[in-house]
């Protein structure tokens, strides 16, 4: 049996694609993953309050938002398989998608495997992850834990600058820990950061360990030139050292952009292979929001639906 559409990944992009494809009667099969590239439901499963998803005036918990999307996808006929895809073959159609237990063939595939925030894996990091240490300032910055306290941001790029600036709304002081001797952020962002009186930049430092009780209280930082170690009393530590798209499965088969994300064509979600689309964070290093992921998931499903209809049409024309 050949499926019409397989969706790989289960964040907002995957479930939204499944809802649209299900309603278009494509009977999508969705691999929601298990332990690779994060847990089923994606990055929102490890988030608490989602305050910026339209339609939830009082906010909603990340996991319950994902549970709702999953139920909605199932309601419209999606077959959900809770397992990791371990191989795909896009070299010939129908495409082959393989897990440890099964292998299925499909005319079309939508990739929504997302991205994983990079971490430093410092001593103590596991203990304070989500108890002071976070990879998403925009998600966690408004947490009461960070109100009127000192916090630190690690990174020197645009997202580090953006997060440092954003966090000044809540924290009394933001220490920007730059590992190099200059910022990689754009000139505009640089001048905003350099001129902000709540932001203190530490050049050529590296955090080396984290300390606290229930929550983070302090970190140690090391001067990269002298090797000197000092303490920094912060209740928050935000990583803005980039994301890593979950593309390992597709390496060598799909074209990637210069940042290593799946390349999509123009304003569409089409990849370089006809019949394969990519939506959500796996093809977006810029916006990285639940709502934009859902938006591109919708686009991918609509594009796949149209493409599948054209394929069927041209086949029947050829037969006639």
């Amino acid at each position: 049996m050949i499926e019409q559409l397989v969706i790989i990944g289960s964040g907002p992009a995957g479930y939204t694609a499944a809802i649209y494809a299900g309603r278009a009667q494509l009977k999508p099969v969705l691999f929601e993953g298990f332990s690779v590239g994060g847990i089923p439901g994606g990055q929102l499963m490890t988030t608490t309050d989602v305050e910026n998803f339209p339609g939830f005036a009082e906010g909603i918990q990340g996991p319950s938002l994902m549970q709702q999307m999953r139920q909605q996808a199932i309601r419209w006929g999606t077959q959900v398989i809770t397992d990791d895809v371990i191989a795909v073959d896009f070299h010939q159609r129908p495409f082959t998608i393989t897990t440890a237990d099964l292998s299925i063939r499909s005319e079309a595939v939508i990739i929504c495997t997302g991205a994983t925030a990079k971490r430093l894996n410092l001593p103590g990091e596991e203990q304070f992850w989500n108890n002071g240490i976070s990879a998403c300032a925009i998600c966690d910055g408004a947490n009461p834990l960070f109100h009127n306290v000192e916090i630190a941001v690690v990174g020197g790029g645009d997202s580090a600058a953006e997060e440092a600036l954003y966090l000044t709304k809540y924290a009394s002081r933001v220490h920007l820990l730059v590992r190099g001797d200059r910022l990689r952020a754009s000139k505009t962002m640089q001048s905003r950061v350099l001129n902000h009186d709540q932001i203190q930049i530490h050049w050529q430092v590296m955090p080396i360990s984290t300390h606290g009780d229930e929550v983070l209280q302090q970190i140690q930082i090391q001067d990269q030139k002298t090797g000197a170690v000092s303490e920094l009393k912060v209740n928050g530590l935000f990583y803005a050292i980039g994301h890593r798209p979950n593309i390992q499965l597709f390496e060598g088969q799909l074209a990637l952009d210069p940042q290593g994300y799946i390349e999509t064509t123009g304003k569409s979600t089409a990849t370089n292979i006809a019949g394969v689309w990519a939506a959500g964070d796996v093809q977006d290093h810029h916006y990285r929001q639940a709502i934009t992921a859902a938006g591109t998931g919708c686009m991918a499903a609509l594009e796949a639906e149209r493409w599948l209809a054209e394929q069927t049409h041209s086949l029947s024309v050829a037969a006639a």
């Binding site: 298990f34 332990s35 996991p63």
Partner: protein
């Protein structure tokens, strides 16, 4: 009671440890733990597939903190395999499904 496949809490675990010579698989989790929620149905499925050959005990770390400490759980989910008083295997974190079934097969 011993015909059941899935149990909850530390008192069930203590009873099984004393009264059953079968393999006991303890899954220690916590509320709001996404990985624990992902793992739970997988272990329940394994328990059904292996009907009767091992006992699955689900433990909530916040309700049974003493047991969690006794089992040396520092992060959830943690799966601990027991036969009587003998600890056979320990799997920390959410791992590929195969790892759980292999560990069970080896320990049966």
């Amino acid at each position: 009671m011993l015909d059941q496949t899935t149990f909850q809490g530390s008192s069930a675990f203590e009873q099984l440890r004393r009264n059953s010579d079968k393999l006991i698989l303890v899954e220690v989790g916590a509320p709001h733990c996404g990985s624990c929620a992902t793992l739970k149905p997988v272990l329940e499925q394994l328990a059904i597939e292996h009907q009767g050959s091992f006992h699955l005990v689900e433990v909530d770390m916040t309700e049974d903190p003493e047991l969690a400490v006794e089992l040396g759980v520092r992060s959830v989910p943690t799966v601990v395999l027991f036969k009587g008083d003998r600890l056979i295997d320990r799997i920390v974190g959410l791992k590929p499904k195969k790892l759980y079934s292999e560990s069970i097969q080896k320990s049966l």
